[in-house]
């Protein structure tokens, strides 16, 4: 069986692993590294549940081979924050009830991170556009949008506090 060594920074930690070329990034994260926060929803490039950040930009980890991230940096929801120290986006989802079943949530939060990194002060329309590739079957999106706007405000006020 053909394998290739890949070197990748996952949530800031260097990983060096031999993988079969056909291994999908989503399976690599979940099954090889045990990072099961990345969810596989549709497995057909539609739902966005498996969204992770590749060099800071949102990608569907079910639609990349793990070999393609050799030399790159991946962030999963585990890298966003810890239960003891939530990221403001995670806090926002808690504060605004941005989830019910939670299946789409990791993907939503990483898509939101990419959005807020680029546009720290988004309108509601910007948020809906930024999350337009992520499907939720529970909430109807209303609270997810509120959660991201909550996070934007929190991040803005934190940034303001630092600059003062």
């Amino acid at each position: 069986m053909e394998e290739r060594r890949i070197n990748v920074l996952v949530n800031g930690e260097p990983k060096s692993v031999d993988v079969e070329p056909r291994l999908l990034l989503a399976h690599f994260l979940r099954e090889v590294l045990g990072l099961t926060g990345t969810h596989i929803g549709c497995d057909t490039t539609n739902c966005g549940a498996c969204t992770v950040l590749l060099d800071g930009l949102p990608v569907k980890s079910c639609t990349m081979f793990a070999v393609m991230v050799d030399g790159h940096e991946v962030m999963t929801v585990e890298g966003l924050g810890m239960p003891s120290e939530l990221h403001p986006i995670q806090e926002g989802f808690r504060e605004e009830h941005g989830l019910q079943c939670g299946f789409c949530t990791p993907g939503m939060m990483l898509a939101a991170k990419a959005l807020l990194d680029e546009n720290p002060n988004p309108t509601e329309e910007d948020v809906r556009w930024g999350l337009s590739g992520n499907l939720c079957r529970c909430t109807g999106y209303q609270n997810i949008v509120k959660a991201v706007l909550w996070a934007a405000e929190k991040l803005q006020s934190e940034a303001g506090a630092i600059s003062r």
């Binding site: 053909e2 399976h27 490039t45 930009l57 569907k60 393609m68 590739g133």
Partner: protein, 289 residues
């Protein structure tokens, strides 16, 4: 689903990629953004024996104007880059309108314009834009390069005119014959769905006289459709109620829609008419203002 096994090559230069293609012939498939190819491989609709990943080849991620005024889009230029491009926004309105309508944000991070053209999906949006702009695709092999007009690049559904030893290294939009205007209008049921109907309109004008008109359709035929008669009805004319209506009527006639889950054939033809009217009327108003 797990993809079938394949042999993976990640060349670091075009020269290396050509020698890989030479070695494996039509067993090999080039992988750029992978946003169409990987889903097909996962569904096992496609099972290439060899994947040639070109993402590590430097110098293919660009879009820039040449000294002759043509626009070149490299094989690794992502939809995301085009969506945010000040150059497209200021000078290529049809492309600037299309870029944000490609699939969804995550797919746009990875997917490429050139890859989308190569995939030759009859419902691909960029192919209509390239037809409307009169663009071509530059195919390169170890022997050199050749330009294939967009109108001849697609030879059938999911089939392009590349030889097994060639890579589509860039797409090219020729220099404008005047000031560009135009847009891409897409009716989709939701973000990420294929177009129910897409209409690309690209005009090049001197004052109010149209020097060149390009109109092409997505989702209403076995491939993207160039509306040659509608284009000819506008060339050399000015936009007014009568020329706009005539172009819309000819474009709707050129459509070959089929009834499916996205709508009836009659409905789709009606949308083509509406979109061409809307696109041209907006240009007419912009000019008057």
């Amino acid at each position: 689903m797990y993809p079938s096994r394949f042999h993976y090559e990640a060349p670091r230069s075009l020269a290396e990629a050509f020698s890989v293609l030479q070695a494996y012939g039509d067993e090999a498939k080039v992988l750029a953004g992978g946003q169409s190819l990987i889903p097909l491989i996962k569904l096992r609709f496609s099972a290439p024996a060899v994947i040639v990943d070109i993402n590590n080849i430097p110098g293919l991620d660009y879009h820039e104007e040449d000294s002759d005024g043509s626009l070149n889009i490299g094989a690794l230029c992502r939809h995301r880059t085009l969506e945010r491009s000040p150059l497209l926004r200021s000078r290529y309105p049809t492309m600037a309108a299309c870029a944000p309508l490609i699939s969804d944000p995550m797919v746009r991070t990875r997917g490429t314009l050139v890859g989308s053209l190569c995939h030759a999906d009859p419902q691909g949006d960029w192919a209509s834009v390239m037809l409307a702009l009169g663009g071509d695709i530059i195919a390169q092999s170890a022997k050199g390069e050749r330009a294939i007009p967009a109108s001849q690049f697609v030879v059938g559904p999911f089939q392009n005119a590349l030889e097994p030893n060639e890579i589509a290294v860039r797409a090219r939009v020729p220099a404008s014959k005047g000031t560009r205007s135009g847009t891409y209008l897409k009716l989709e049921r939701r973000v990420g769905d294929f177009a129910t109907v897409g209409v690309a309109v690209a005009l090049e004008a001197s004052g109010s006289t149209i020097n060149r008109a390009g109109i092409a359709l997505t989702g209403v035929g076995p491939s993207n459709i160039q509306c040659t008669e509608a284009e000819q009805a506008l060339a050399g004319k000015t936009l007014n109620a009568s020329t706009v209506e005539q172009a819309a009527r000819l474009a709707a006639q050129a459509a070959q829609p089929k009834t499916d889950v996205r709508g009836s054939a009659e409905y789709k033809r009606h949308i083509v008419h509406t979109f061409v009217m809307r696109a041209l009327s907006n240009q007419q108003q912009a000019r008057a203002a």
